[in-house]
Symmetry: D2
């Protein structure tokens, strides 16, 4: 087992997050400088994801770069802004309007350039507005064609930067085109570029009734395409973006094992929305939980786990987890 993970977080963990009711946000407005400064008390944090438009623009890029350097933070990923302005309300790459599609490609290319300027090797394309809310509003085939076409076109813009597609089944659209692990893999196979892969957002997988471990396994199997992982948690019906490990302990242990088994060596990056909590505390607590559960995997033992999986026996599996989780320290309690 690799002893070192690289921990990162999207900036939304530290922002003044709002929802559709409290439109002004649940906290006070905060500047990028303040946010970056606040992360200094997160010892595990090595990188941050930046949403272009929200967190970084062509105008403030140099300033952000300096602030990050000063805080000793890398840029783990750049997320082109295809979902935070009304312009994309009815889609970006899949829009019926060719001008909008062109703009989307330009935003993506610009994000690639930004990434390089920030010494970052990956961008995350999340087609959050590309979907539908009502029947009879989409030509599903044309929409898919356009998504493939757009991605193929940006694919070769700069092969030194990885492009990772993030899937999500719903929200902000009631349905999204690239909604599941199966659909993202279809897309990757069709675009078929080495620098094209996927972001697995654990909460998105849970909300699609996926088992995260299987999603990791399939992304491995179909071309080693897991480029990045977003950590968070939810109650399975919605992308609640809660603190990592705050709901699904057993499934978290299993998915951490599969990250090891498949030799995932990308970032362990938070994507959480702590509307009412202190973002720094949420990040620290999330990292502590992730590390503790990696510890449980270690105690279970990679080869012992493989043995137990081969038995296909749920009681053996639960016993193995239990013994690692409670070990000696709890043994005498009852």
């Amino acid at each position: 087992m690799k002893s070192e993970k690289r921990f990162s977080s999207a900036m939304c963990a530290f922002q003044n997050t709002s929802d559709r009711y409290v439109t002004g946000g649940y906290k006070e407005p905060i500047t990028m400088k303040e946010m970056i400064n606040s992360t200094k008390s997160i010892p595990d944090l090595e990188g941050v994801e930046l949403v272009e438009g929200w967190n970084v623009t062509n105008d403030n890029l140099e300033e952000i770069k300096d602030l990050l350097a000063e805080a000793n933070l890398k840029t783990s990923m750049i997320i082109p802004e295809l979902f935070t302005t009304k312009k994309w309300a009815k889609g970006s790459l899949s829009s019926n309007d060719p001008k909008i599609r062109e703009d989307a490609k330009q935003v993506i290319r610009n994000a690639v350039d930004m990434a390089k300027k920030l010494d970052c090797d990956m961008i995350d394309i999340w087609l959050g507005q590309d979907g539908w809310d009502y029947c009879f509003t989409q030509d599903y085939i044309k929409a898919w064609d356009r998504i493939v076409e757009g991605l193929t076109e940006v694919a070769d813009y700069d092969k030194s930067v990885k492009i990772a597609i993030e899937y999500k089944i719903k929200e902000p659209r009631v349905n999204m085109h690239v909604g599941t692990v199966g659909k993202v893999l279809l897309l990757l196979q069709e675009v078929n570029r080495e620098n094209f892969g996927a972001v697995l957002d654990l909460g998105h997988a849970l909300a699609a009734y996926e088992n995260c471990a299987q999603s990791i396994a399939l992304l491995k199997r179909f071309g080693d395409k897991l480029f990045h992982v977003h950590f968070n948690d939810n109650y399975r019906l919605w992308d609640d973006d809660l603190m990592a490990c705050s709901v699904h302990t057993i499934e978290y242990i299993e998915l951490l094992y599969w990250l090891e088994k498949t030799n995932y060596n990308g970032w362990y990056s938070l994507d959480v929305f702590p509307y009412r909590e202190d973002g720094v505390k949420v990040a620290n607590e999330s990292f502590e939980w992730i590390k503790a559960l990696i510890g449980v995997v270690k105690k279970m033992g990679m080869s012992k786990i493989e043995e137990v999986i081969a038995m296909d026996d749920a009681t053996e599996a639960m016993a193995l987890i239990r013994k690692a989780l409670f070990s000696t320290s709890n043994g005498g309690l009852l």
Copy 2:
């Protein structure tokens, strides 16, 4: 069957609605004057619901009153602002902070006063922020005690105004205290005031895996407590706040029957969030659908429906709906 319904809408149908990504809204900013003017092209609209704080304040109340009069609109309901400012982030009536609880009661009493000034006989208490996102953050008993205590205290403030509690299972909190029809009825029984009842938001019921018709029936059975209905639709897992009747046709027909059967005579009021649609068109289309489906109920016939229900035979039920829905006009098509 009553031949006349009174149609209303919450103002969110006409607002510049935002979500957690497009925080500035999917449309252009719009004034109350513009919104009220826009409703003039909704022939069925007789009333509007106003969220105190969002739509009306003590300061602009007279102006709003004049605008509504000029547009020939009644105020169907006032909704005290207990969910749109960061102040209520960790609850209003159930807050751990006695000062916040006191403020919430004051907001409610003020909303009662506003209602009277606007010749409106009902306020809607939606405890949208009273809930929890994580385990071990709530004393569920104390929270319930406080909600009962707060409501009981405001109950007698002015018996000439009805107070209707709106339940919802989730959003903005991951879990809300007053989440289901059963829980709202427990609350109504404990507070036990004649002017206390419930708002049924159809989408909230669907998202709680309720059958809206049963919810209407239970609200009737336990003291005739259905004071107001919010019309909208969703895909069952989230409060998507779509146009009325855009997803659940059969269930809509059944619930419209139950509104008739239980002699509901309150407003048929929209609560929709047309992020990407024209709000006026959404309202018009919603009313057209509701009227058309009431027409289907009428064609089925109240006594014939009762007969079929008594048979407890799904094929008879589906045949009755089918014959009323497709009638002669489709009969020869295939």
Copy 3:
């Protein structure tokens, strides 16, 4: 904290369970004698729940009593057979047919008698067939009236036996009348007998998007009505009846705390369907997990938990759980 729990299990844990595809069951047929014998290797097991008709009948009651005595097992609960024969296909207590309703009451009274003969002080009424699958097949008000009427009638049959109502939102019916904690409490308040209370099946609560801890709290608050708890787990959308604690660790810790806090002193009883697993192993592993998680609650400390809850701070809550769960034994792992 009480140091001793009483552990029990429904017999389905040891039966040859089937589903709608493998109608003959996933295991070999097994007799009650064999099942009871098999439980001898479950050291924690003190009691068993018996479904009348499935597990015990008037005819074999004496034989079963002897077998249980020989195995040193108590009868924790008798479950009248209102859901395993085609007779109840369209309801038992809520049936449109007065003869069926009468038969259901007789089955309940007989179960009360059986319970006494088996030195058992509680029966569990689960109205599994009382619901609906399609719109326009139920008069929801009449159905509720009949359920109340039937329960009231059996309530006074023998006040020395507790009658506990088990709620469930769906399956085998697509919708069930007594579906949620709110609805069961409405029922208990209306029947209003001291010997009437509720069974909380944790999986049923999860499948209704309830937080089990809140359900426990409300059952306490409204008259101390939690008579019995069924332990199992699921993935939140269906009553999967998996091994206890196999999915929801954090929520399990919280609910175990609430059982302590509310002084629940009934059985900790399994209701699991190990289609493909060894039932004895499933029971043993379930009990080991429950005990281990009670150990975690103990380590967290009742008063410390209360303190943290009062803070309404999710990071404090998660830190408290984490420190108790991983304690010294994992501290040095990473």
Copy 4:
């Protein structure tokens, strides 16, 4: 629009269906002869699907063939028995046991032979037992490899028979390997045989939070792979297998349009479980609804629909449906 559809049904519509509680079934036992006879009062029925093992075996094949001929019924599809006996409890093609995998392949090949003997050109492989219920019981990669390997091996057995894979997200396993439209397409692309395609069960798609119309569109786009459609309905969280069109009217209209648009010319086949209803009535009512909704599509008009879709305007879409659905016959009602 094609004026003629071919209607079929799986035999489960007419069987004595059971669930995990009423293990003996909700109706009386019934023979194949009786079932086939009963279908004579379903005028639209032209074909039946037969589950090998349940409905037809090598032993009774000739007898069944004669019965079908006498009833003037074609065999629309043969479904190899990979999910109704305990043998497959832990998987068929993905089993850890090579002997089981070999047996599964043999069952499939035998089903191909049976199909030909019954003048049927398609079999349906539903890997209902190939999945998992608990974490740490599956090597997800190996399982997928084995499924691909098994299917590839049977693919070339007889190219004159189509092999259609049916996907489902859950039940009888809590999770199934081939769970979504995306995953089935990945499988089809890898096996890559002309006679390999998919069965779309509408209820399975709904239970996976898919939009059926999009699923149809994607199956078209990726190689014209929609071989067969199962009609039924549900409340979105489970495969309730209700009568077709009994819940989702609008979505049904959209999917029927997409079947036309993509030139689907396979069977319109029921897969319903009428536990408590008369199966013949359920089939008749289902076909009447499907025909009536096809009539609505016809009234909307294929080119007008295309125009409206291109507008991406939900109010236009709902107006178009409304006008076709209620047309003149309801227009004057309110």
